[in-house]
C-alpha cells in the first residue's frame, strides 16, 4: 500500500522531488523554528494531529464537545473499519520485517512460507462494536488487504535478494521494506501531543505517509503537514514531501490511489492557523456552534441536534 507504482515513482522523481528541492520554504515555517512565531505555540493545549487535521466537522464542534464538555461518543462504522485496516497493514509489514530477522536471508523459503499467515484478532477485537453483517464485511476486507500486501512484499523481498546475492538481513529490510510503521513522535515543541503516531515514514527521501479510507478530502494533507513539522522540530532536517494513500474497495478488489504532495508554505500555514484556532477554542472554552453541513456519520451528531 505504501510502495509506489512505477508511474508514481516516475512522477515523484521527475516532477515532485526536483520541485520540492528547488522550492524555498520560508524559514519561519520550518519545524526547527518552533521556538519563535508563527510556530511557537500560543496556548498550552497539546493537540493531536488528527484533532487539527480532521476537519470533518466544519466548525470543529466535535473537539469542543470532547475536550470541553468531556463527552465521549462511540466510533462510527467507518472509523472502526479504518482502524482495522491500519492495524492489518501495520501487522503485515512488521511481520515481514520480523520474519527476515528471525530466519535470515539464507532461509528465504521459510520467510515466504510464513509470510501469508493471516493476522490474528483484528476482527475479533471489534466484533462487539459492529453488526454481524459488518463483521463479515470487515473480515473479507481485512483478508483482501492481507493478500494484496503479502503478494507485494513477497515480490519485493525476492526481487531484492535476486539483485543483491550477498545482502544481509538489515539491508534487506531497509531496501525491500523502506518504511517505518506507526512512527512515534513527540510533538510538544509545536504544542502538540507527546504521543503522536505517523502511519508511515519513508526513509530514502523523507516522506510522511498517511493512510485514509474513503473519499479524498482537501484537509487530509494537513495531517502530513503536521507530522512533517513535528519531524523537522525533532530532528532538524527538512521534510518536504507528504503522501495520502487512499484505500477503497471495489467488491473484492482493492483500489489504491496516492496523493503525493509538497509540504509547502501554504500547507504549513494552514496547519498552524488551524492549530492556533483549535487551541484557542479549547483554552477559551468557545463553543464554535453547530456546523451547517453536518456529516451523517458524525459520532457526536446526537449531541448537536
Amino acid at each position: 500500500m505504501y510502495f509506489l507504482t512505477d508511474e508514481e515513482r516516475q512522477r515523484l522523481l521527475k516532477g515532485i522531488l526536483p520541485k520540492s528541492r528547488s522550492l524555498e520554504i520560508a524559514q519561519e515555517l520550518r519545524g526547527w523554528n518552533w521556538h519563535q512565531p508563527p510556530l511557537e505555540p500560543v496556548y498550552d493545549i497539546p493537540l493531536a494531529v488528527y484533532e487539527i487535521a480532521g476537519k470533518y466537522c466544519s466548525t470543529g464542534r466535535d473537539i469542543y464537545l470532547r475536550r470541553i464538555q468531556h463527552l465521549r461518543a462511540a466510533p462510527n462504522k467507518d472509523m472502526i473499519m479504518g482502524s482495522a485496516f491500519h492495524e492489518t497493514l501495520a501487522s503485515i509489514l512488521v511481520r515481514a520485517k520480523r520474519l527476515i530477522y528471525l530466519h535470515g536471508v539464507d532461509n528465504l523459503r521459510q520467510i515466504l512460507k510464513e509470510l501469508p499467515e493471516p493476522p490474528q484478532g483484528i476482527v475479533e477485537r471489534r466484533k462487539h462494536d459492529l453488526s454481524t453483517e459488518d463483521c463479515t464485511e470487515l473480515e473479507r476486507r481485512v483478508s483482501t488487504i492481507h493478500e494484496f500486501e503479502v503478494a507485494r512484499l513477497s515480490t519485493r523481498i525476492q526481487d531484492t535478494v535476486a539483485k543483491q546475492p550477498y545482502i544481509k538481513e538489515d539491508s534487506l529490510v531497509a531496501t525491500a521494506i523502506p518504511v517505518m510503521i506507526e512512527q512515534r513522535l513527540d510533538g510538544s515543541f509545536l504544542g502538540l501531543s507527546q504521543m503522536l503516531s505517523a502511519d508511515a515514514f519513508v526513509l530514502p527521501e523523507p516522506m510522511i505517509m498517511d493512510l485514509k479510507y474513503g473519499e479524498p478530502r482537501q484537509f487530509h494533507k494537513l495531517g502530513t503537514a503536521g507530522y512533517a513539522l513535528v519531524m523537522e522540530s525533532l530532528y532538524e532536517y527538512p521534510v518536504n514531501l507528504g503522501c495520502v494513500v487512499y484505500l477503497n474497495f471495489n467488491g473484492d478488489r482493492i483500489t489504491v490511489s496516492k496523493d503525493i504532495h509538497i509540504i509547502d508554505d501554504e500547507l504549513r500555514q494552514r496547519f498552524m492557523e488551524e492549530r492556533d484556532q483549535k487551541a484557542r477554542m479549547i483554552y477559551e472554552e468557545i463553543d464554535p456552534g453547530v456546523a451547517k453541513d453536518c456529516y451523517p456519520a458524525c459520532p457526536f451528531r446526537k449531541h448537536c441536534k
Binding site: 509547502d264 508554505d265 501554504e266
Partner: protein
Amino acid sequence: MLSELERPGQLQLRVTDVKQFVYCPRVVYFSYLLPIEKKVTRKMEYGKEEHIELDRLEKRRTFRAYELTDDAERRFHVNLSSERLALSGVLDMLLVQGNAYYPVEFKYTRRPPELNHKYQLMAYAMLLEDTVGKPVRAGFVYVSEDRIAYPIDFTPNMRKFVREILASIREMIKREQMPHRARQKKKCVDCEFRRFCNDIE
C-alpha cells in the same frame, strides 16, 4: 464604501491588502474599518524616493538578473484589475518575452522576499492572467539593495491560498471583527497603527 460593505462578496480589494494581511491582518482591519488618517512614516517616504530611483536605473539595465534575453520588454507601473476577483493593483514592473509574462515587484531591503511579498506577487499574477487571458507561471521579487531578482514559481496551492486570503479579508470586514495581531512582535515596532492596538505593550 458602506454600500460595498453591505455586499462583502463583491467588495473591491487591492493587492496591497493581500500583502498587508499576511504581514499583519490588523493593518487591513484598521484601513477599512477605522476612519483614521494614516500617518506617513519615514519608511514610506524613503520607499517612494527609492522607487523613483529604481525605475530610472532599471530602464538602463539588461535582463540578466531575470535570466531573460535582451529581446524582452519592460512595462512600468502596470494598472491591473479583475472584475471576477474584485481585485486591483498597480504592478511595479511587467516583463514580457514572447508569450510569457513575468510580474516583478521591487523591494527596498537586503532581506530575501518574505511570505507577504510572495502572495502579493501571486495576486498580481492572478490579475495578469485575467488581463492577458493566459497562465502566468513565474515572477520575480527584485531586492534593490542586493540587486537580486528572486524567482518565484506560482503553484496551484499558492493561487488557492491567495483566494483564501481574499475571502478572509472580506469576512473580517463583513463581521467587523478585530483579527489577531502580527505574530512577530518586531513588526509592531514602527507600525503606524500601533497606538490603536490596545493589547500591545
